[in-house]
């Protein structure tokens, strides 16, 4: 990582500014995810509504990141690491925006689920999964802040655990549905929630890969471990 300053100090300020926006976005997304999972488990409608409302702020930040990057490219013609910072920041912002949408969707489904019988143990499992994914997201963003390739690589590895949690939940929901068809509605919602949280994990992996690209100039080549193969016949 190049620690020298630009001769044009305004260039440094612009680059730092846009990175700060992404880090801020990351903080909001982490909070939205954990709040939404909490709202689901505690049946806290007010909290769920707050998560839904907060998503506008995340979207606005993404738009701001894109504007700033556009301006940076047009006015500064960034090269090498600077160019990678701009591209990476845009991609990370896009990933975070998706994660924000998933958190908002979780909050929305929690409001629906509040009107149904609870499925035993499900919301707790989902909250544990959300916490795990939130940690991955935090690590991916920390890796971005510190240009930490090792931490980014470990995020890629850990996404497998999330995939396994999802597969386990999938089987659990299937069992509940087979036991009692009245669970089907709730379990369908819960399943979408689990799948969306699993997608947040994938975005954390994408962010980690972008960090590796940012720091080394190359995307990681070796395939990451996967464990999300859901066998439909096997419960």
């Amino acid at each position: 990582m190049n620690t020298e300053r630009h001769i044009a100090s305004a260039f440094d300020r612009d680059l730092e500014g846009v990175q700060a926006l992404v880090v801020k976005m990351g903080g909001l997304v982490e909070a939205a995810l954990s709040d939404a999972a909490m709202a689901l488990e505690m049946r806290d409608e007010a909290l769920a509504e707050r998560v839904r409302a907060q998503d506008t702020a995340i979207d606005a930040l993404e738009a701001q990141v894109n504007d700033e990057c556009l301006r940076l490219i047009a006015t500064r013609a960034p090269a090498a690491t600077d160019l990678r910072v701009v591209l990476t920041v845009m991609k990370i912002a896009a990933s975070l925006e998706r994660c924000g949408d998933y958190a908002k969707n979780l909050a929305k489904r929690s409001l629906v689920l509040n009107k149904m019988h609870s499925v035993e143990g499900a919301t707790g499992s989902i909250r544990r999964m959300a916490r795990q994914v939130g940690l991955l997201l935090k690590d991916a963003l920390d890796a971005f802040i510190h240009r930490d390739v090792e931490l980014a690589a470990s995020v890629r590895q850990q996404d497998r655990d999330v995939d396994q949690m999802y597969t386990a939940l999938f089987r659990e929901f299937l069992t509940h549905m087979m036991e009692d068809p009245r669970n089907i509605s709730a379990c369908m919602h819960l399943h979408f929630i689990a799948k969306n949280i699993e997608r947040v994990g994938d975005h954390a992996t994408t962010i980690a890969e972008q960090v590796i690209f940012l720091a080394t100039g190359q995307l990681p080549s070796e395939p990451r471990p996967k464990a999300d193969s859901v066998n439909m016949g096997e419960v």
Partner: protein, 266 residues
Amino acid sequence: MSVIEMKLEREVTADTIKIEARKVQVHYGQNHALKDVDVDILAKTVTAFIGPSGCGKSTFLRCLNRMNDTVASAKVTGSILLDGADIYDPRVDPVQLRAKVGMVFQKPNPFPKSIYDNVAYGPKIHGLTRSKAELDEVVESCLRKAALWNEVKDRLQSPGTGLSGGQQQRLCIARAIATSPEVLLMDEPCSALDPIATAQVEELIDELRSQFSVVIVTHSMQQAARVSQRTAFFHLGNLVEYGETGTIFTNPKDPRTESYITGRIG
């Protein structure tokens, strides 16, 4: 456009080496201006030399057609082969060499002659044409290649110095290519031009690449990125990094190159 086509677009058409420089050193008196430069300039390729002022890029460019011979204090060592033949061999006539390795300078410097005579001068003194008709043809084709013909065809007998700056520079390019050189050296050819004239010269450089090797020294990194397929970065008399232009500008290997192209050292 498919991935394969895009790759082809970027690729250099010929991978034959036009100029092979080995262990080139230049001293101006006590000043060690260039240190052990090894580089292969490819045929039909635009090669850009970039680097801060005083890094040795112009010095090296001037070695390629022995312009440093005209500087009394300059001492050049090492070998520079043009198509495998040493250009510093005592039997080589520097004037003949410069007809093969043409040069365009930073400031347009047309001769105080007519537009026609500016271009005709080289072919005349080198005896490249046999008749007036043939000379007319050479002048027209060079002015066309330099994208100047349409602007000057009705006033070929007007003085070259009466043209605008951008036109004068294109006239100098027409003059440089009139002796059918194999290599064209350009030392900051656009630094005195406005953006439109710059774009015209850059377009011209890209067209000339189908016939010549072009070596361009430029302070504009964007220009180097736009026009060249190979880029060499010089710093303090050393050739720091030489490689495919896209790689140099997106993922340079040497931290000094990175610092320079991102605007961290001048």
